[in-house]
């Protein structure tokens, strides 16, 4: 029979090491007495967009923060289990956290431009790494801004304050700042919740292009957004993964009743 549509899907329970960007094994996270994540096991596919969805407080942001150890900064945080990137446990005591965070970039809910020029914002991470050569910085800034589709809009105002950009432009610039460090993985924690619908669509389209070069993991409380942008989706509830599969299956025929209830708006 003639196949009319091609949709490549991986089985997230059976990824090869080459297909895997992050492997999470028996991950548990406590903040003091409170257990936030419970026995998380998952394989996150490389060069794909994976969404984490669930109610507020379900642990999705905490999980994404485990991938570049942002939780380390929180008081009372205790992690057990393993998070492997390229086969190495990022919670190993010898792991350099600064290096990890250049490999695993993160973008937050609200655009957080530094009060400096667009150029300085994007070059900030590189300068911290000790890159001083003007040519290198120029090239890296241009490339990162091109990657986020912002170059044409800001190339004539690179040395103006980043605070003069619109919200959507600021968020794309913040993504460019992360991309300038050429991360393998880009984590986005509700990156469009402060943006208008059009700016949101531009960011979503950007994610689709970024996956060619990077693995993208997005936390969103907007299910429609997860459905639009993600290749794979994990539904998290009370710190546990309830269902994790390719987004086509999850949003058309979820296997678990709890997922069905949540994505159809029946879940209280």
């Amino acid at each position: 029979m003639l196949k009319l549509f091609e949709h490549d899907k991986l089985d997230v329970n059976n990824l090869t090491p080459e297909q895997t960007a992050i492997e999470v094994r028996k991950l548990n996270l406590h903040f003091g007495e409170k257990q936030v994540l419970e026995d998380i096991n998952m394989l996150i596919p490389k060069n794909q967009v994976t969404a984490l969805i669930g109610q507020s407080g379900c642990g999705k942001s905490s999980l994404i923060s485990c991938f570049n150890r942002m939780n380390d900064l929180l008081h009372g945080c205790e992690v057990s289990g393993q998070v492997l990137i390229s086969g190495n446990d990022i919670y190993h005591r010898k792991q350099n956290v600064a290096t990890l965070r250049t490999r695993v970039g993160m973008v937050f809910q609200k655009p957080n431009p530094f009060p400096m020029s667009v150029f300085e914002n994007v070059a900030y991470g590189l300068k911290l790494q000790g890159v001083q050569q003007r040519r290198k910085l120029d090239d890296a800034v241009e490339q990162a801004l091109r990657e986020t589709g912002l170059w044409k809009e800001v190339r004539d105002r690179l040395f103006e304050s980043a605070l003069t950009l619109s919200g959507g432009q600021q968020q794309r610039m913040v993504i460019a700042r992360a991309l300038a460090l050429k991360p393998e993985i880009l984590l986005l924690d509700e990156p469009t919740s402060a943006l208008d619908p059009l700016a949101t669509l531009h960011i979503e389209e950007l994610l689709n292009q970024l996956k060619m070069q990077h693995t993208v993991i997005i936390v969103t409380h907007n299910m429609q957004q997860a459905a639009r942008v993600s290749d794979y989706t994990a539904f998290i509830h009370e710190g546990k993964i309830i269902e994790y599969s390719d987004s086509d299956s999850l949003f058309t025929m979820p296997k678990r009743k709890q997922t069905e209830s949540y994505i159809t708006g029946r879940y209280g």
Partner: protein, 225 residues
């Protein structure tokens, strides 16, 4: 007139999905056109083998309907289409169902030929070919109107069903007269009646697809209540 542009979304992926979906209907329609054309050729040349091939190929059309249904469902779940995008997907889902049923009607005629059950009457055969050619023309015009989302063409083709209905009525009276003269072959003549009915039904389903195209392009529902 409503505003239809498939390729102008911010999301390149969405543009492609809609374009692919529309093209898939044309692929399915193209196969259907071929099926009808082959059936008429088989009738003309008493080619039971070709008619058998048509019967087998109907499975391909059935499979396409399932695939297109799944894709419509996938796009609705993933993209939450609105306005013209939503009308396009609804149109495609419904048109696909009609195309699949047209495939079944063609299969019925093809079975009649493949089982060599067409009574030996030249006048009957030529009458069947005449209505069959009209139906084929209407099908081509319908698919063309859909491919170009052409409101005018859809409205014009919509009217053609009346001609086919009139032809069907005439043929029915002639066939009934023939049946009375050939009461020994009653079973075969009944099959002929069904085959004629199938041609008429294809005309009705083409009319349905034209209605969907009008709904899609104009944004107004043209169906009779």
């Amino acid at each position: 007139m409503a505003y239809i542009e498939i390729n102008t979304h911010i999301s390149v992926g969405f543009n492609k999905e809609l374009e692919d979906l529309k093209n898939s209907v044309l692929t399915m329609g193209g196969l259907l056109e071929q099926q009808l054309s082959d059936t008429l050729h088989a009738l003309k040349t008493n080619n039971a083998g070709l008619a058998e091939k048509v019967v087998i190929n109907d499975r391909e059309i059935n499979s396409m309907e399932i695939q297109i249904d799944e894709e419509c469902m996938r796009i609705i779940a993933r993209r939450h289409p609105t306005a013209s995008d939503l009308r396009l997907i609804m149109t495609i889902a419904k048109a696909t169902a009609d195309i699949e049923r047209m495939g079944d009607e063609i299969e019925r005629v093809a079975k009649l030929i493949s089982h060599s059950n067409v009574p030996d009457s030249e006048s009957l055969k030529s009458s069947m070919l005449v209505i069959g050619e009209h139906v084929l023309d209407m099908l081509k015009d319908t698919l063309d109107a859909f491919a170009r989302l052409d409101l005018e063409a859809a409205q014009k083709t919509y009217q053609n069903d009346e001609t086919i209905d009139a032809q069907y009525k005439d043929l029915l009276s002639i066939t009934i007269l023939e049946m009375q003269q050939h009461s020994d072959e009653l079973e075969n003549w009944l099959e002929v009646l069904w085959a004629l009915r199938s041609f008429e039904r294809i005309g009705d389903r083409c009319k349905n697809v034209c209605e969907y195209v009008i709904f899609l392009v104009e944004g107004s529902d043209n169906r009779e209540i």
